[in-house]
Symmetry: C2
Subunit: 335 residues, 2 copies
């Protein structure tokens, strides 16, 4: 591996001239520039980014913390982030925390040195559980939250969970459904709270009642969404208490479909299912899922743009929550 010295020697100039010729933004005569470039090519010289980073006090690396790489929404986000980062000369270090706060704190501490110019988190939960993120801000390290956020405290890029849920449930009501249940996720997460809110408001605005019994939640029962519903429908008296289910993500929707079928009921004839996310597989299951499509790739892109803005200006005082729109995708799982 050659260094800038080797290039300088071969080109017959000083190391600083090489540095300048390569950086481009400091004037160097055309003649020396070509000499330098020739030497660079001849040696196949690649600058040592660690030395550069050490000198400049930055690394051109973004840390991306995601809670569960097995969740199929993240691949699209990651691609948006990587593409945007690549276009701006940044690398992405991806850390998967497995929804484990200790893993996350450890990862952040490990990366918190000059390795990382900023963080993108898709993991924020409660104020309580996000002390390490507050700490980052306190230490003046740029942070952008995506998907999950905590109030107005942070720079973040999220989607219009409440409105999109309102629209989805309203659509179900317009299709004639009157007994719509919900399968929800962890209500400590803002996004599930908001989807719940949208669901309730749509019911109320259409003069339907919110029935506690059919507001299912797999995350506080220890049972999977599949088990919860299978169990519910195993009781004869429950089988006609529901004519539709709003699942707060596609995976839960797919589990719900399975549970309903395994209970001897039909989707959507007996029970309609609305999903949320529009994961790739959703169009292939049976029936193809009617769902809410979130702009994952764009979330990724925007989060990088926002983060680079913070890194460049170093102005972390001006927080802003950016809300992107989701849209309803109509397939065949709602009657």
């Amino acid at each position: 591996m050659y260094t800038i010295k080797d290039v300088a020697k071969l080109a017959g100039v000083s190391t600083s001239t090489v540095s300048r010729a390569l950086s481009g933004n400091i004037p160097v005569s055309e003649e020396t520039k070509t000499k330098v470039m020739k030497a660079v090519k001849e040696l196949n010289y690649k600058p040592n980014l660690m030395a550069k980073g050490l000198k400049e006090g930055k690394s051109n690396v973004i840390g991306l913390i995601i809670p569960d790489i097995q969740n199929p929404i993240f691949p699209s986000i990651v691609r948006g982030i990587e593409d945007a980062a690549r276009n701006n000369g940044f690398n992405v270090v991806l850390i998967n925390t497995d929804e484990n706060i200790d893993n996350e704190v450890a990862a952040v501490n490990m990366l918190k040195n000059r390795w990382i110019d900023g963080f993108i988190f898709a993991t924020a939960t409660s104020t309580e559980n996000s002390k390490h993120i507050y700490q980052l801000i306190k230490e003046n390290i740029p942070v952008v939250l995506i998907i999950r956020n905590i109030g107005e405290d942070f720079n973040s890029v999220v989607t219009n969970n409440c409105e999109a849920s309102y629209e989805a449930v309203s659509y179900m009501i317009n299709r004639g459904l009157r007994k719509i249940g919900i399968v929800n996720g962890d209500l400590n997460l803002n996004l599930y709270m908001e989807r719940f809110k949208g669901y309730r408001e749509a019911l109320v605005d259409n003069e339907l009642e919110v029935v506690d019994e059919i507001c299912f939640n797999s995350s506080n029962s220890g049972l999977s969404c599949y088990e919860l519903l299978k169990d519910y429908f195993s009781k004869e008296k429950n089988r006609n208490k529901i004519d539709g289910i709003f699942a707060t993500n596609d995976y839960k929707a797919i589990e719900a479909v399975r549970a309903i079928k395994d209970s001897g009921l039909k989707v959507p004839e007996d029970i309609s299912i609305m999903g949320f996310d529009d994961v790739k597989i959703s169009s292939f299951i049976d029936p193809p899922l009617t769902t809410v499509s979130q702009p994952f790739y764009e979330i990724g892109e925007r989060s990088v743009e926002r983060l680079l803005g913070l890194i460049n200006t170093k102005d972390l005082t001006n927080k802003k929550v950016e809300v992107l729109d989701s849209k309803l995708i109509i397939r065949n799982s709602v009657i």
Copy 2:
């Protein structure tokens, strides 16, 4: 952010003493060690890994190159790699190339400096398309290939594709199926070649014929697996030419199920489907997929162990292909 100097000053010792106290493997008196540790804690000092890396000529970072983060087999592999790396004090930089060789070459060049102590590739295709990987070896940079490999030229961790396919197809035959087609992937990839080989050998050993017409391949036709099969079954004369399909991955299997249903046929009553990979969703589709489970997490772990071995010994001459076993998962998509 504090430096080693700040710690030294606070502890009243020299920077080298701090360095030694922290590294652990050079004798320092208990007394000074406690002084140093106290200062470290007080300042919440974290060593600058870039400076350390610059000095030591290594980075403790592994580059992981994957072709398609949307493919659901990769999340599990990534987790295996991350866990193993983390346990050994390494970070993982994940780059997704989108199956685009230019992206990949660019990524490798970008990372090839001292940023990266070694690479794990899940992208190798043909010798032709893998010149940059050969180049890496030539430059003495440790490389491990996973999932996809190229002959015996590289250190790699793969699964027993041929044997597992043989077993899967034999199982179908034992269940009474006699007209088994295959839906294959890119035959430039060794793994699909081997799955094809296992399929053919199972047929031949059971005195069944390999019928070209029912060896489908979506990657050289420009049509998706879904379109290919839908098209095939739209011709009345084809509808009883097949009683089973061996899909060479679960995604293709799911597409096949959809195509068969959309053609008015039943799975598995009319046509059985065997998948490959055992992706998470496979147990939830209808019918739950009988498939071959690959040890993805373990592949990830092993690849890190192998790579760290190469990094530590710097002996890149001794190539070895490591083959892990897959196993058949019986559900309901084969009769």
